[in-house]
């Protein structure tokens, strides 16, 4: 489940960064081009669905789906808090982008 958690969290980070408002929170100077935004968003959804696949593969469809949505909720919450209180922790991603 650590894999699932990581995938889900990564997905949330990428998804939030694909939005102008949150990109600006992390990356004070740059601006978000449409292309980068789309790339980020595609990657994000890939991560999130990969998380789902991992959960379902490990626990079967029923319980796997519950894990998936539980992880999505938890990681989305963590990401919101991170963006609000410690956006600087995500600065390293500026380099990757």
């Amino acid at each position: 489940m650590a894999v699932g958690f990581t995938l889900s969290f990564l997905g949330c980070v990428l998804l939030s960064l694909s939005m102008k408002r949150h990109y600006a929170q992390v990356n004070r100077n740059g601006s978000l081009s449409k292309r980068v935004s789309i790339v980020l968003r595609v990657l994000a959804y890939q991560c999130l669905f990969a998380c789902g696949a991992v959960c379902i593969q490990r626990c079967g469809v029923g319980i796997g789906l519950v894990w998936w949505w539980g992880l999505l909720t938890l990681t989305a919450l963590l990401q919101s808090l991170l963006l609000a209180y410690r956006p600087q922790m995500l600065r390293f991603l500026k380099v990757a982008v």
Partner: protein
Amino acid sequence: MNGTFRQSMNWLHTWSGLLVGSLLYFMFITGSLGYFDTEIDRWMQPEIVLSGEAEASEMVLLAEKYVTQQVANVESWRVALPVGREPLLTVSWQDTQGASGETILNPHTGLPVAVRKTGGGQLLYMMHWQLHYLPNQVARWLTSIAAMFMLIALITGIVVHKKIFKDFFTFRPNKKQRSWLDVHNIFSVLPLPFHLMITYSGLLFLAGSTMMPAIITGSYGTDWQSYFDERSSRAAIVEPAGETVAQLPLVTVIDDVEQRWGMKGVTRVVVDNSGDRNARVSFSRFLSDDLRARETLSYDGISGELLHDSAAKKTSLPTQTSTVLLALHEGLFASWPLRWLYFLSGILGAGMIATGLILWAVKRRAKAERLGKAHRGLVFVEGLNAGTIIGLPIAIAVYFWANRLLSVNVADRAETEVAALFIAWAITLIYPMFRPVQRAWVELLWVAAAAYGLLPIVNAFTTEHHLANSLAQGDWVMAGFDLTALAFGAAALRAAFYLRAKESRGLVKSSGKSKVETLVAVPIKASAP
């Protein structure tokens, strides 16, 4: 209605939330605790002897011996085995005269264990739909109606939320109303699948006994038993034939169960119509990898023949849908990490309701400050908010304190513990009437911090299962409870400091002495004393 579609949905959202918000908060808090009901039971009954390596078949036979020796004219009895989360070996029975009883047995010796009487975590969980001090049917109606309001609030909330995707991760602290709205949105949208599932399945649970019995009656008339039999994957219930026949000793049936399943996962054994021609014995176990959670083998109690295997019956799609929804609500299938995720979602749901109520009060208070007068309804809601949102957790902590502090032999012990809970809650509800509201919040938070933070210390003084011991023994149930209590205490403490800092900076109004002059100069009439 009032203007556009969005505006009328906004009105509907506000009122459906406001009218039953406190009740829903109670339901979400007690329901969330319910995901750890057996763990809380164990903490509240520290005398129990853990089963360790005791064999399931041995325990069933010990229970059989106990019942046949102790209960004359037994009609039906059941054993709940200490498997998985369940720590206790419990035997309950009913005799032909209508008397009933329940005993906790030592899983190694089969002798009764003196365990303090308590409602435990089970009671907290059951209050989540049965409430307390109310007739069962009344409580079910109230919770059903509240759940219906919740469904409407969820749907209208989704309709009203304009930027549901854009604002998904948005939280802007320190902005008064905007921050409260952000938090309310996050607590609502992020766990939205959970909220929708839990509300709809909650309604389904009580549908037959409250809002929608007509649907069953419309096709089955008064013969509800047929409906239950056709729907259930369990064997049909049979009445006693009235003919006394010698019972087959359980050991024969246990052998068959051992062959089919192995006795290891068996959670429950039920004997119906004991001593009668129509005696039935059924064994149940949990499925750890399936949402449906439980399967049962039913045997003829005289011949030992397998009559019914619940796994064999192919269930239709509608039945599967109901079963899945109800199973999702109960989360019985969930391993402990998943259970924590359930608990988190439930607490977020409680937070959604709390922040919604606070948001309403904050908005109206801002308007009242501009106009110079506060509506009595606003004052009432502000007091109710503090007394419920912080008061209920305090009351639950008091319930735990009572469990440790009350002597084991006190009469009506379980009821006294619950009474302590409700008395504490009543006090926290009345308290904000006598204090400026913002002060009341801070003071209640201090009390909550103490109530939860000191709980492990009370535990240390009254039992041997205190934190140091339970960590050393690897007893994660006991340790987990104490650690969670500490965590809640710490959170309440942090919140209290934070609010007090805001107050002394003059950003928050409170009448009474304040070192910094408040920002709003308009005098308020008829506001909180």
